[in-house]
Symmetry: C2
């Protein structure tokens, strides 16, 4: 039996376009005389679409295109695909129709069922409900559904029989059963499955391929059954964060060894035979780079995911050109190099926007960066405009008919005026004048976690490209981008990070940001990335025990060296915790990596 794995790009909320993609793949599969083609989870509706799941006309569209896809199957070519099934006759307790996340099998122009007479597709059983996942809100799981139907849920795991081969179908989380009380894959094996097929819609996170391999390879070996894992590519967002779907589809033989796969982050496919001795062979693979998927360094994974996310997000939003405020520092340099790589240097516009506080050093580094990249470059001073604003508004008098109140702008106010002038005046105007033009937010995760940025200033931008990277990771990514050729001038790696908004942030005298990245990166990380988030109390306990650096995962010895006294340490902790807790940050979109 010749099986094709179709790693397609899924567009969330666009059943028609997704159907067209499937049709293209089905036609190819017919030409290549395949017996079965497998598409990913929810490949018709998409996945992260929020309350669009409650939109009846959308659900009807999904049903319509699901039926059309089934019609493309023939007596020779069977199709497996993920789609939503709406049971219009069964209501949730609040009156809405029950929806199920399903794996369908089609043959001979029709949806095909199993010998158990239930006329049901495979229904997803294990549901993730954390982070971006919200399945209980939208879908009923197989256990509850079968209970309400007064049927034995084990029938959900009966294999589908295609050309006398027994296919055990499962959906994404169903294969990640470590913490769950049941294992759909093991049950399917017990029920006689010759192969286990897991259709997924699983977003990229750093090192996810390692855990994927561990999970599925172990399972295939344990059950002595080959496993085909089919994941989608593309991007999907939950209204706040953008998730990249890496695909990384792969097939494990019954010893748990990966035999075939495709490269991450591209629409692709591979073929293999499922033979009578219940194993797989006769592979056809288009690109052998897939073998590297699970071995890549973290920085390469991050690099590839960001490039992919930029490309897809710009394409989906019909954007063409990017304007980047280029300060001469590492953040904007890394963002510039990324966009040049992702969309071509001919679409990248760097603008250096000096004030009296900007050093000759950073201006010339910014110029050098543009030259290395080969992108458009210009300088636009903010001096006249900031001066005009100060003249117009400092000392401005309000009157209420009785008394007056006079505005006085502090140094702090003036720093923020500069930041807003750059983003909301210059970058916005230039970006909006370019066809399909936007400008970027260059903030890193360290700054954004504690709100060390200006609203309508450097916090602005269409996409916060590196907002899920701590400062030390930004440096690392910069070095990676430089590995073949110096794109980012090497001096940018050595100057002190600084906003250059006042004399107190003069880099020529080594003055810069109040965030000490070698410590605060790890401190802030413990507040936001751990499942059990650290509190200041946790930090103090570790500090007292002398185990803080191990606890935070940072280099040893530096905390004691840097903080002259316990008092210093505690003051610093309190300062940043308060900023973190009161930070009224309304972030725009960012690409999520962790």
């Amino acid at each position: 039996m010749k099986i094709r794995c179709a790693q397609i790009e899924v567009i969330p909320g666009n059943p028609k376009e997704n159907y067209e993609t499937c049709r293209r793949f089905v036609n190819e599969a017919k030409k290549d005389a395949m017996d079965l083609i497998v598409f990913p989870e929810l490949c018709i509706p998409g996945y992260l679409i929020g309350d669009m799941w409650e939109d009846v006309s959308f659900l009807k569209d999904c049903e319509f295109y699901g039926r059309r896809l089934a019609k493309l199957s023939t007596s020779k070519l069977s199709i497996i695909f993920g789609n939503v099934l709406v049971d219009w006759n069964m209501k949730y307790e609040d009156g809405r129709a029950v929806k199920l996340n399903c794996g369908f099998v089609a043959k001979n122009k029709n949806i095909m069922y199993r010998p158990n007479k239930l006329k049901l597709p495979y229904i997803k059983t294990l549901q993730p409900n954390y982070r971006e996942f919200d399945e209980k809100r939208y879908f009923m799981d197989s256990k509850e559904y079968y209970l309400r139907k007064k049927e034995n849920v084990f029938k959900n795991f009966d294999p589908f029989i295609i050309d006398s081969m027994k296919i055990g179908l499962s959906i994404c989380e169903d294969g990640w059963d470590k913490d769950y009380s049941m294992s759909p894959l093991s049950i399917e094996k017990d029920l006689g499955a010759d192969i286990l097929i897991n259709v997924s819609c699983s977003p990229f996170t750093v090192n996810k391929n390692v855990s994927r391999d561990r999970t599925f390879s172990k399972k295939a070996k344990e059950l002595k059954t080959p496993i085909l894992y089919v994941n989608s590519v593309g991007i999907q967002n939950n209204g706040k964060n953008i998730f990249m779907f890496d695909g990384s589809s792969v097939c494990y033989n019954k010893k748990g060894i990966k035999e075939a796969g495709v490269k991450s982050f591209e629409e692709s496919k591979f073929d293999f035979d499922l033979n009578d001795s219940n194993d797989i062979g006769n592979f056809r693979i288009w690109d052998f780079a897939w073998r590297e998927n699970a071995k890549e360094s973290e920085v390469k994974q991050i690099h590839d995911a960001l490039i992919y996310g930029i490309q897809k997000y710009m394409k989906q939003s019909n954007l063409k050109k990017v304007v980047i405020g280029s300060s001469g520092g590492i953040d904007s340099a890394v963002v510039s190099a990324l966009y040049a790589k992702a969309i071509g240097q001919e679409n990248v516009y760097l603008v250096n926007m000096p004030s009296i506080f900007n050093s000759a050093t950073t201006i010339s580094l910014s110029r050098q960066l543009a030259e290395n990249i080969g992108c458009y470059y210009a300088e636009a001073s903010i001096s006249n405009s900031v001066e005009l604003t100060l003249n117009e508004l400092d000392g401005k008098t309000f009157y209420n008919g009785k008394i007056s109140d006079t505005i006085s702008l502090s140094q702090f106010n003036t720093e923020n005026i500069q930041a807003r002038d750059r983003s909301s005046r210059i970058l916005s105007a230039i970006a909006s004048s370019l066809p399909g033009g936007v400008f970027t937010c260059n903030g890193n995760k360290s700054e954004l976690t504690v709100g060390y940025c200006t609203l309508y200033g450097d916090l602005s931008g269409f996409l916060a490209t590196i907002a899920d990277l701590w400062k030390h990771q930004v440096y690392e990514l910069g070095r990676y981008l430089n590995s073949n050729k110096e794109i980012i001038p090497c001096k940018i790696f050595t100057i002190v990070p600084s906003a250059e908004l006042s004399e107190d942030q003069d880099i020529e005298n080594g003055k810069g940001d109040p965030i000490k990245y070698w410590y605060h990166d790890y401190l802030f990380k413990s507040w936001v990335e751990k499942w059990n988030r650290s509190t200041p109390e946790d930090i103090l306990v570790q500090y007292k025990k002398g185990t803080l650096e191990t606890f935070l995962g940072m280099k040893e010895g530096r905390v004691k060296e840097y903080f002259k006294s316990n008092k210093n340490f505690i003051e610093d902790l309190e300062k940043w915790w308060n900023l973190f807790k009161t930070c009224p940050l309304l972030k725009g979109f960012n690409l999520l990596l962790y």
Copy 2:
């Protein structure tokens, strides 16, 4: 048995502060020789706190303050309160500990259980999972919990016996059983309850009190049992929208008639006796205005909710002063009048920011408005700054080492430059110079739905105060604000709505916004407010049948009059639908009313 209903303000995510509020109320109740005091649902943790429900240290805090609150009970005074119960020994399938939304009864310094030996508080049974509600994500319902405990779920509805009175406890949605397959209140009555107590954390929506009355009054009458409904006040937000909690706690006798209650939107209380004949009497009520709760006009409800939301949000965020861009139009005028009323005119700063396109009419209306309100007022022209920006950036040349690209700013670009100059330059600077100063976003729902606004321009602001009101509702609210005295100059109601950003929007010649509020308000509403959202196809079907105006709920006859041909109608529909669908709007906070 003397019962006190404690309608307290709950601060989301702050168990300590909520405990302190409860303690204050308990001490009063002791002085007043009460036998039972009842607090609202989740009055220790709060409700809309997102993934803070996964924070172990927060959950331990909730447990701690719950125990402390129980300790305040005595042999005389029992306490009913809502809190989270964590079953640290029972795990969700993904490994997290199970959490339950519970009603606790405390007596004699201890949590009190029922004679059924289960040592469990009342567990919420019906869970809302739509709009802002996400209970399945965070809580297990009683049915699943009892099943996993291998216990009969009916034991969850056993009444608590306090001083020989049988109390049937329920939580919020448990009382709204219309669409559900079971009715906790009816089961409790069957099990002998003398009174039904529903503790709630139920946000305000327009006319909610009418449906509350209908629901609970009917139930009390049907079951011939008094019902006490205890809801919290305060605001809570889900990271995007702010919800006002109106309280409106009330007690129905066994005929379903409201006998006692408290005013909406304030921390308050009332007392009554539960007597042996299973009815209530001997009321002590502090403010009889509660009787009006369910009879108020929509515009009064909206007004009260917005004033309350402004006050609470500013207080919680430690904000003092508000700067408002005052155009002389209805939106900013209504916002100005609201803030003056909510925080006092001495804290309101109106700024009129004219350009060459602003009419003398709107400038003088803006001045008149400030005078009527008695707030601070100033004018700050954007002419010089916009001219400087055009001079600096129009014709700006980028160079990439080989070729150059010259920026050219269109009229459309220039309109947006003006909007950004007002918000990101002037309003931001003035607001940041004032202690606790912020500036407002004055956009209405009609504009924001289709993105008729400028990012970093009029879309900016700390709170989009009237963003959940269609334009016709803004006018209505304006007239309501004027009902005692002309605050908003009456001419503001008659000039044509206009952004005044170009000659094409000259109000002196009757030119204004492209949105025709008398039609588009209702059209857009059908796209976003209906549970089954309308599609352009639905609209066309209704238009063809001649039933569109009834379908949209708007005045009859005007659509045909306005659109000269079917082609005009369809073009207009397509234009706005495309803007709605592609609108990349990243809204800040707004107060939610619907």
